[in-house]
Symmetry: C2
Subunit: 614 residues, 2 copies
């Protein structure tokens, strides 16, 4: 009946809900037919006519109506079908979207009774499954407290042998409780004392049940695009491992998301995509009610410039320079004739917050803004923006953060950290394609910049913001296809979560650090000050070392590494971002070992002596 | 022997030349095998060992050496193979790259003797073919004067029946000339008096013979990418007809060109692509020796801003404002505090050049630059930049042209027209994806801007230029995938040529203009002042007309139209750019007719009376 989706279900049953031009039950039916299923029985009830119309299109379908649907449970509906079932069945709920892969798995599964399960989705309407040590069903419930362990979550796709189906029917009619209210899950649990029901948990399996409007939003915007992307049959793209600090290695689904029918970006359909992108980019770091993402066609540097040129008035901005990207902000302040104070600090050491505070305290000029780079890509030094934010709060200074290389990997909370403006881009940890830069801004503070005299045109932040508010469009032609890729990248980032992504990156980083240490190399920034996403490594101190040669060697193996960018020290850089895992880094370390052996910097025999440095 | 490619052929025969990791003859062999050919005989000579090594990999191959290769022609080599030929053959030259489609055509062709031919390529090494009215071979020659007509150009792929092969061998041994010098073409011509040899000409067929370094460049950069794109088997993308003024309808090959293995844009391989793009974009409008294209991640507006903010010093710029895009340049001059004179002119009438000249003459401020929009997208008015350029020359003024909406469609010669700086973008007539803007500049003039005080950072033209010169890279992360698409779009533009593209656009425009006139609608700008690529049409003067409604109606039919942008007059706009033809426009006109009938603006019965306006 779908009472929690009244607006949609008042005229149609839930299975007829349309996503991407097709009712979800019809999508499910097509997948079953594709798998070779040629008899489909639908137990109908509420607004049964809709399913009966569908049955006219598909000769495989038979509908059996449960006229008591308002008062009965799902087992009653299933029981009703018994005269039409004569063998093993797949039992599917009508309000699911799912990728078809597991259908094949269930059909071919060596067990004849198999519940399909997933990791916990957090949908707030989960049916939790308790199993024994052999992953056999013990109990199921929506109330986790009723279970002694939680192994997985029920998907709503179950393979049931004919014998088991008969046992369920028998259970339903012989139970002492009011059997008409029974759900099929209860019957499965009921018979599981006597019949082994195997629970098959799948990882990385895109599916969603749709019970309320939150589920519907999640289904339409997060889950369905993944299912669609996974089920398209595009040829795989050669995988390169990019260990440069972005653009990073991307998934094939992000790559192919660029291929869309041509669209004019002034169309409403595209506006909706822009709105989705803006909201979701904000949500990763702040509440979209108070903050907003303003998008530009351009690089990370472009949006840092957008902020600096657009939000600072006649007062002074304090710029922290402890690397190339900090210095770049000073250059921007210079060309726009901003009043600024450059605060220099060593590129490989943590900032001295006391000394920074002293500068703010002692400044004769009124400091209205402070600008800092989060992860200095020059070295991998992570500036402590949390503490700097508190300093800014104390002195009523607006904080600007260049988070181009940290956003999407290192968790950020703009509100807690007191960040007013943050710059990031599409092609680093968010794992999209290059071409879009964005500013995430506190709306209230951004609103106050409307009265400042504009210093430029294309990159003007306030104008871009106002235009987007009014139209859901960028002011000037946006990079359409890059935005489609960004949308897909956002969906995949949400699916993984930024916290998990940072764990994955950190795991790869640990492999890198252990590996280079083992090989006698050292990195510039101490572990405790390190971003764990890009590492400046001191070059081997031997005349036979040559960066270009090493670079080309890695290149031939499908790995891209990056030169250093420090004036004073000889380093090369290795990033560990993008669609890579610790396994890719293990291979990298073993390739590095081969290279170091080939230039006689590392001698494999010494490994055993624990003395690897020549 | 490939004597015209000495550097490549000194160590290997020409067929072993590698494009995209595989020798071209091996690519040819793979295509033949794919088509079901299982016996391949290679007549070798110069450095025959290379082919013999290849034969070890492919059991289908047999090599027969002609030890006299230095002194003999291709017929001698072919004659040598006679003991190994026992049926109909396909005869292929070794130095070809080609798409495999025509192999199937030849194999299935109802004629047993078929010469594959193409339209003239202009490669300067063509073998021209003369035929009779039935397309039967009469003569072939590299010298066009020896032929009485030229029907097509020899490709070098020929289907020869066994009988004909024997006749060729017989001809070769019985001719009165020195038969050892004979080429196979001569033998074909020789026997064509008695045997019908059909010449099959193919259009839009990508192929190339490689005889010298110009051919090699053409093969690698223009032809091979097309073959590759055509032979990839990607699913077709839903075709939308965009009649908005860009982004335009694109080919599927351009769409899929975005899908490439991940690459760091600081790699040399990507630098080569950037260099290709920059050179070829320049070549469309100027000599790359004297002019250069500077690329940015950003829209057309971004690069117009780049020019205005970067090349003007303390003197005055005269800006012609006869539409939204002219006005936009004034806004830019304003925010950067440039000295400027706004020259206003009506948006729907040709400029008054005498009055413009008077402004230049009478200006008390020194006018160093003049800025004008080529095709005013607001209306479709084409400003006469040729004449304005001559005016600029007379008064020693540098001309800046916003050609964002004309570049790639309307032929431009920067040198002849005296244009110093021209702005354009990737997503209009060049038929690529949005995200790249570029400036084409006279190098000598651009060099003089290095001493000006910078007014911004990301869009600074001189810095971007210098950096590209030194590194073949953009200063900041470029939109990598958009650039790959642009490369493919450039290749396709070259293949069509800008002149032909403008003919195609013009043909569609004529259909549009005839159609709307027939339907009783009028367009704003007179034909003689019209760009023929975007048309502002006066809205139907009836209360039942509603732009949004009409827009949505077209949208449902797969067509996107665009609202007007004039303050004074009610217009809507229709562009006729992108990968569309006059046939798409015919359908558009008939859909428009249906719409006008539905709002009772147009009455189909009146058509016959020649009075279509209500």
């Amino acid at each position: 009946m779908g009472t929690r989706l009244r607006e949609i279900t008042k005229d149609q049953p839930k299975g007829m809900l349309v996503i991407d031009e097709k009712p979800i039950i019809e999508q499910s039916i097509c997948k079953l037919i594709e798998m070779g299923i040629d008899r489909i029985v639908i137990g109908t009830g509420y607004l049964a006519e809709a399913y009966e119309r569908l049955a006219l299109q598909y000769p495989q379908i038979k509908c059996i109506r449960n006229d008591e649907y308002e008062k009965t449970g799902s087992m009653y509906t299933l029981y009703n079908l018994k005269d039409h079932i004569s063998g093993d069945i797949l039992l599917l709920e009508c309000d699911l979207i799912y990728e078809k892969k597991p259908l094949e798995l269930l059909i071919k599964h060596k067990e004849r009774d198999v519940i399909l399960a997933s990791e916990l989705t957090g949908s707030k309407d989960e049916v939790f499954i308790e199993t024994d040590e052999f992953h056999l069903l013990v109990n199921m419930s929506k109330n986790r407290n009723k279970l002694s362990n939680i192994y997985a979550e029920l998907v709503g796709i179950t393979k049931i042998s004919y014998n088991t189906f008969q046992a369920m029917c028998h259970y339903a009619t012989s139970t002492q409780y009011d059997s008409s209210k029974l759900n099929y899950e209860d019957a499965l649990v009921g018979i599981s004392k006597n019949i082994k029901i195997y629970v098959q948990k799948l990882r990385n399996f895109a599916w969603c049940e749709i019970d309320d409007k939150h589920h519907l939003y999640r289904a339409k915007h997060y889950i369905y695009p993944i299912i669609k992307a996974k089920e398209k049959t595009y040829p795989p793209v050669k995988r390169n491992i990019l260990l440069n600090p972005g653009p990073a290695t991307t998934t094939d689904t992000v790559k192919y998301a660029q291929v869309v029918p041509d669209i004019c970006p002034r169309e409403g359909e595209f506006g909706d995509i822009m709105q989705f992108i803006s909201t979701e980019l904000t949500r990763f770091v702040a509440d979209p009610e108070e903050y907003t993402a303003i998008l530009f066609g351009g690089s990370g540097t472009a949006v840092v410039e957008s902020i600096l040129s657009s939000v600072i008035g006649e007062d002074t901005v304090l710029i922290i320079n402890n690397g190339v990207y900090g210095r770049r902000m000073c250059q921007m302040a210079e060309v726009y004739g901003l009043k600024y104070i450059e605060y220099r600090s060593a590129p490989d050491e943590a900032l001295d917050l006391a000394s920074l505070e002293a500068v703010i305290q002692n400044s004769t000029a009124k400091i209205s803004h402070l600008a800092v780079v989060h992860n200095e890509t020059t070295t991998g030094l992570l500036n402590d923006i949390g503490s700097i934010g508190q300093l800014c709060k104390k002195y009523h200074v607006y904080m600007i953060v260049d988070a181009v290389s940290s956003y999407g990997a290192i968790p950020i909370d703009m509100n807690v950290m007191n960040i007013s403006y943050l710059a990031a881009s599409s092609n680093k940890n968010i794992q999209g394609m290059a071409g879009v830069g964005f500013v995430i801004a506190n709306k209230a503070q951004l609103e106050t910049t409307g009265c400042l005299k504009p210093r430029n045109f294309y990159l003007h932040l306030y104008e871009q913001y106002k235009y987007f508010l009014a139209t859901k469009q960028m002011r000037f032609t946006p990079p359409v296809q890059t935005l489609y890729a960004l949308k897909q990248a956002i969906i995949e980032t949400r699916l993984e979560s930024i916290k998990e992504r940072y764990s994955r990156y950190s795991e790869a980083w640990e492999v890198l650090i252990d590996g280079i240490t083992q090989l006698g190399l050292t990195h510039l920034v101490k572990k405790e000050n390190h971003s764990r996403i890009i590492t400046a490594i001191i070059e081997p101190n031997t005349p036979s070392y040559d960066f270009e040669e090493m670079h080309d060697y890695f290149s031939r193996c499908g790995y891209t590494i990056y030169p250093g960018k420090l004036d004073a020290k000889n380093t090369f850089r290795v990033a560990n971002i993008g669609d890579i895992t610790h396994k890719d880094m293990e291979l990298f370390v073993s390739l590095l070992k081969q290279y170091l052996i080939s230039i006689s910097y590392y001698n494999s025999r010494r490994e055993n002596n624990g003395n690897s440095k020549t």
